[in-house]
Structures are given as C-alpha cells and as structure tokens.
Symmetry: C2
C-alpha cells in the first residue's frame, strides 16, 4: 500500500510534498496509519489532536497515545482540550456538531498561527458509504449522497480511495498499534451498526462493490454539477440585484418545473432548506417573510425580496451613490435631473452635494428631529406626527430617508430644509415615492 | 389498507376507475393482494398471467392458481406460455431480460387487441429499495437510483407507496393465499439476500426508513429533472438538425464541464451509454465512429455527426426538397438559382423539375451506369472509373447523387446528361461540392 499511496500523493496531492501540513490524528486506526504513511513518505507535517473530554480516562489515554506516536515518528504534536459538553449546552447543538465546530475552529486557528496551508484528514471510502447509508436512512437529496470530496478548500483526504479492509490489512502488516476511535459519539450506534451488520452484506452483493460505489458517487457528483449549472443559469436570469438585496419575480419562479426542486436548489445556498416555506411564500400576502440563519426572504407584491437579516434586523437599508430604484423596504426612485420642479409629498429635489453616501432608509426612533422644508429651526418628529394627526399604525409604517444622522425626507410627507436645492446647487437629485 | 388504497386510487389513478385495465398477475403475494383490492373496489380488469416455463411443475402450478383466482374473483384470465430459454439463446440476452421483453410484448399485443388503455402492475416500495441496492452494488448513475415511477406511459403501479410489510400484513389479515413468486430468476439470489439480510437492518437504522427513502427518491427525481432541463438546453444549443442527422460542434462540446457527465447525459437517449467511447471520439481522426443499438456517432472534421444506423448501414442518405446544405456523408450545398453558369467538377446545374425527391446520396454499386453529360448514350460506372484511372481507394470513397434509380452526379467528377438545364427549364438547382 505504501508505494500505491506515494504515487497517489504524487499524482493527486503534489502540494503535500512541497508544504508542511497539519494531520488530524485521533489515535484511531485510520489516522495512525496515515501518520506512518506520511512519515515513510518523508512528508513534513504536525500532528494535531483534539481531546474532547467526552470519555474520561479513555480520552486522556488517546491524548497520551498520540503524544507518544509523535515521539516515535519524530513529528511535533499539538494538543488541545475542549469542554465539549459545555459547548453543547451553550450553543444548543448536538455533541457531534459541537465536536465538529470546536475541532475546525481550532484547526483553522492553528493553520493561521503556524502559516500552514493544508489540513490532512484520514477519511476513507467506507466513511463515504456509511455517511451515504446514514443520510439515506434519514431521507436526503443528492447532496447527502455524493460523499465528502478528496480535496476541498484547504482540506485534503488522501486515504479516501482506500477501503477500511485495505487500511486494516496494511496496519496489521506493519504491526501498528492504535486506539479504538469512538469520537463520533452521536452517530456511534448508527455507524457501528452499519459497519458491522450492513456493509459486509452489501459487499457480498458484488465482488467490486466498493469500486462500483466510488463510480456511483462520481456519476452522482456529475449530475449534481449539471443540475447546479442549470440552477445558476436560472439564478442569473431571475435574481435581479438591487442595492442591498435580490429581487425575484414570483410569476417567473412559478413557471419552473419541477417547482419544489427548483425552489430548494435556488435558495439552499442562502440557508433556506425547507422548500415548503418558500413555496408557501409564493402565494402569501405581501409582507410575509421566512428566515434562514442569515437571510430573510420577503414577499413584496409580485416579488420575493432576498436580503441579509442584519439589514432587516437593524432596519437600516443603504443606498449607494448614483441613480437608484429600490422596491424594498419601500419603493423609491432617485435620479439626477437638470432642473428642479415643485416639491410635493411624493417627489422631492435635493442638492446632491449636501448628501453623505450611502444614504439610508430606516424607521423613526424616539428623539428624531428634522428641519421641515420652508421652516426656520428644527422640530421633533413626535411633535410633527402629532400635528399631522398620524395614528399609531401610520407612525409605525413611516420610513425616513437619511444622510448620515440627518433626516432628508419623512418619506411621502415632508422634506428637510437642509438638503434643498439653492442657487449655488450644482447637481440636483430627485427622489420619488413609487 | 383497503380504504387507503381506494382513496389513493381516486386521488392519483382516477383513470383506473373509469377504464377496464390489464392486471399483471404472477400469483405471488403482491399481485394477488392487488387483484383482491381491485375486485373489492369494484374496478373492471382482466388478469394476465405469463407462464415462462422456467420452473417446470411450479410454473404450471402458478398458472393453475391464477386461473382459479380469476374464477374466485369473477374476472377473466388470459394466459400465455413462453419458451423463455429459447428466447435467451436466440436473442443472446439474460433470462431476466428475456422474461421482461416477452412479457411486455405480450401485454402490448393484448392491450391493442382488447382496446385496453392501462396495464396495472403490483410493484411496491421495497421493490424500489431492492432495485436501488442492486444498482448501487453494480455501480450506477442517478437514473439507476430514482426507482420505477407510479405512472409511466400506459403502466400504473398503485401499490408503489406500500411496503412489503404492509402488504403482507394485509394479505394475512384477509387470509389470502398466494404462490411464492420466483419469476425474477436472474436476480433471485441478490433480491433474496437484500430482502432477508440487508433491508431489515436498514429499516432498523431509522423508524421511518421507508418513508425517508421515498422522500429521497423524490428529491433525486427532482435533481434528475433539473439536470435534464440543463441537458435539453445544451442539446438545443449544440445539436443542429440537418437533413437526416444531427451535427454537433466538437469544440463546443469540449467546453462543457463536467465534460464526461455532459457527454453521458447528452447522448444516453441515443443509446450511447459508454461515455468513454464518445469522449475518445472528440479527439479521434475524421471518419472514426462509434455505434449504439440504433445510432452511429461519427467524427467528421470539427463536428460529430449523429445519425440513425439504418441510413448508414444501407449507405443511403436522403435529401428533402428545397435548398439544402449537408456535411454528411459528404459536403454538398444545393440551392435554387436564377441562371446557370458553367458546370465544373465541383458544381453542377440541374433542371429541378426532372428530379424525383427525396434525392439520395449513396456509394456506387456493381451494375451502376449513367449518361455522362455531353455524351449520347449510357456508360457503365466501372468503365468510367477505369477510363479515369481511379484507384481502388478512390472508387470506394466515391459518392453518387441520385434521383430515384438514376445517377444525377458522380460527385466531384461528372454530371449526368438527363438532368441538365435546357431551354425549357423553369427552375434551376445548383449543387456544389463543399
């Protein structure tokens, strides 16, 4: 296996022969064999071991084992201790998810700190098959069946083409020692059941089962990429970029077939994994919205508005310099014009050089004041609303156009005096309520 | 289950409540239960049973059982006997393929004969899972994982959403009798192994394994359709229809990524399932070709030519009436022109009204003769070739343009006198060698 491994590295991972890398080592069979193979191939690496403190003395035994392994191989060992259960409780995630997040955060920090470009992990072909079967048992789409890649970003998995049997046989042949790897606490039951009871039976179905499985993953990945090309094309056609958001025609979305497949595919990269929610939004009343971790998707008349949640949460929407037309959070059109006409409730004229970009659109807050157009001096917005006899709902729905901290326009009602067009104005910006 | 089955039929197969259908009945658990369910639901159907004569007395026992079942249910039974092994040997196909082809041919004939629109089959959810695992063990693409559909063409599979467990439980509850179904001779070993040893373990992985599996198939089908949309778009863009073939730019094909996935997807519907062969053709010498059951794909300079094999085998290519431009089997351009110029070796002028459409392009055959332009009387082509001192290769490569049985042009050499432009010619067709 060593010779095959070495030519596999030369053919597919030449970057690992020229750069120092981090090797994630649990002390289990796979990562121990990988450490020996890398050592025998005279590669330059640091072992990195996470002690998740999930199994008391066993966890500490693993740590001790990896430190000794580093000594035997003459390679440095970096170790960290995690309060995994603390993370589980504070972040409300599963043990598996906690271990994963803690581990990758630590690896990332180490790589930055030591100027290391690659992280090498010991996943093998049976890991892909186990994950395939676990995802199948839970229900999944093509993304859950295509397996982990050999190389993605800074991560490299040079054992991915080898089966567990091959790895075990070689480790025995080399008379290696390893610790039983039990770090996948959450899926331990499932993985063990699959490994011991199901995979051996599957392999009996065909003498080349694992090779055929690898080929299948390859075919599925290609279909996935072809489908992604189609989704990208549809996104380019339907997702119109506006200032801080994307605007998507509902009637165009509804034409797509298969509709649910497209809705899932188009919005999954924004974290919307429940296509039913998106599907319901298509026929929802204007103003309805659904949220993902980072995005909000909002029905606004005939469009869906896709925006970062931060803008919506803060309620502050930016408008960059230049002519603009926005639908969200309120319909506004701004353009440079040659001459001023009468300012009305629905259209105002501004001296462009008095404005500070980006302009912002936000709701009113306690303490807001402005200088009503044509008046000397300032007025509290609360007083203005009272004088205008606005009801609570109208006040809540009132948007303001602002330049820095200053209100430019109580939109649809009254402009501010400070930004008006004067004799010395050189560029005039008209802003109209749509 | 009966109530659920009846509402499932009303919701998804209303056509089966209004039309008589054929019910494929092996005498096994699934088709026997389906027969009872259809009878209880007062549907109008004929039982159709195939005796494949693969298991001697057992096969005849199945036939007897289905006939009795028809009597009990008061439904007619149609039976046929096949010489399955004879078909296997004469058609060089597997037993499973033979049984499949014989069965569908018979069903199709019966439906035409009796004016029946639908064929109802008793496939269930576990069949899909078994097929999924068999294909997985052999290596497959997404098409091999998405399962059989509930409705396709004239076939309906109303039991597809039910698991084997549900079907067995209901059959026992109704105290039904059935024959052990062993018709899938070829995959019997695999299916039994999967059914008895693997599926029960998979179902233990998740309490809703089968529902999740059904959802997964749905998601995969959607990805498959999205990918098909992309492939269709690429076909529309790259597959130019010419007379009797499609012409595809090699350089445009080479730009597609992932290349192999696209090659497979674009050409599979023409029976080219080995993308390696197609991939090799892209860089092959002009004139190389690969064959599927019905099509030939030929490298012709910067293009792939995709044509029905029949045309290529017969070596006769048709040209429909009107202006034309073909690259295959030889580059020719024909157009109506207002006046005749000098006929040369590379361009000829014809009296269009003397031509019989479709024109054909073919190689020469023994006995061919023509009336060389400007000569009185006919000449054997073999004599003409000899006089022109053509070598064997040039003779083999010589194409003829013909109108009915008559040669119009020994292409690139000499036109025929019978089709020349005369004073009474009303429409002139020029044909040029490209």
């Amino acid at each position: 296996m060593l010779k095959d491994f070495q030519s596999h590295i030369l053919d597919n991972f030449p970057e690992l022969t020229k750069n120092k890398f981090l090797l994630a080592c649990s002390g289990g069979l796979d990562s121990v064999l990988l450490s020996y193979l890398c050592k025998e191939s005279e590669m330059d690496f640091i072992l990195a071991h996470c002690n998740f403190r999930l199994r008391g003395a066993a966890s500490d035994g693993d740590e001790k084992f990896v430190k000794e392994l580093g000594n035997r191989l003459g390679r440095p060992v970096l170790v960290t201790h995690f309060d995994t259960m603390g993370y589980v409780h504070s972040h409300r995630v599963s043990v598996q998810m906690a271990a994963r997040e803690l581990r990758y955060q630590w690896f990332k920090g180490l790589m930055e700190e030591h100027g290391i470009a690659y992280l090498v992990m010991a996943h093998h072909a049976d890991d892909n098959l186990e994950t395939f079967l676990i995802n199948l048992s839970r229900g999944t789409g093509i993304d859950g069946l295509t397996g982990i890649p050999e190389a993605t970003g800074q991560i490299r998995r040079p054992l991915l083409k080898y089966t567990r049997d091959t790895i075990l046989a070689h480790a025995k042949e080399m008379d290696l020692q390893w610790r039983e790897d039990e770090s996948n606490a959450d899926t331990k039951y499932l993985r063990n059941k699959i490994r011991q009871e199901i995979v051996p039976k599957l392999k009996e179905l065909h003498p080349a089962f694992m090779e055929n499985f690898e080929r299948t993953l390859g075919f599925l990945k290609e279909t996935q990429e072809i489908s992604e090309n189609e989704l990208e094309r549809v996104r380019e056609r339907l997702f119109q970029r506006e200032n801080q958001y994307l605007k998507i025609s509902v009637s165009e979305l509804k034409k797509l077939r298969p509709l649910h497949g497209y809705l899932y595919g188009l919005f999954k990269e924004f974290g919307f994994t429940e296509w039913q929610n998106v599907a319901e939004l298509l026929d929802a009343m204007s103003g309805k919205s659904v949220y993902s971790a980072e995005y909000v998707l909002l029905k606004n008349r005939d469009y869906l508005i896709l925006a970062k949640k931060t803008a919506q949460e803060k309620g502050v929407f930016e408008i960059e310099e230049g002519d603009f037309k926005i639908d969200y959070p309120i319909g506004l059109e701004g353009k440079e014009v040659l001459e001023k006409k009468d300012t009305t409730a629905r259209i105002i004229y501004l001296d462009k050089n008095t404005l500070k970009y980006p302009l912002t659109v936000r709701k009113w807050e306690k303490g807001d004041y402005f200088y009503p157009l044509g008046m000397k001096g300032k007025k509290k917005l609360s007083k203005y609303f009272k004088d205008e006899k606005l009801d609570l709902f109208s006040k809540q729905e009132q948007w303001l156009l602002c330049s820095g901290d200053a209100i430019v326009w109580v939109i649809g009602r009254r402009a501010d005096d400070r930004f008006k067009v004067t004799e010395s104005t050189k560029e005039i910006l008209s802003v109209a309520l749509l």
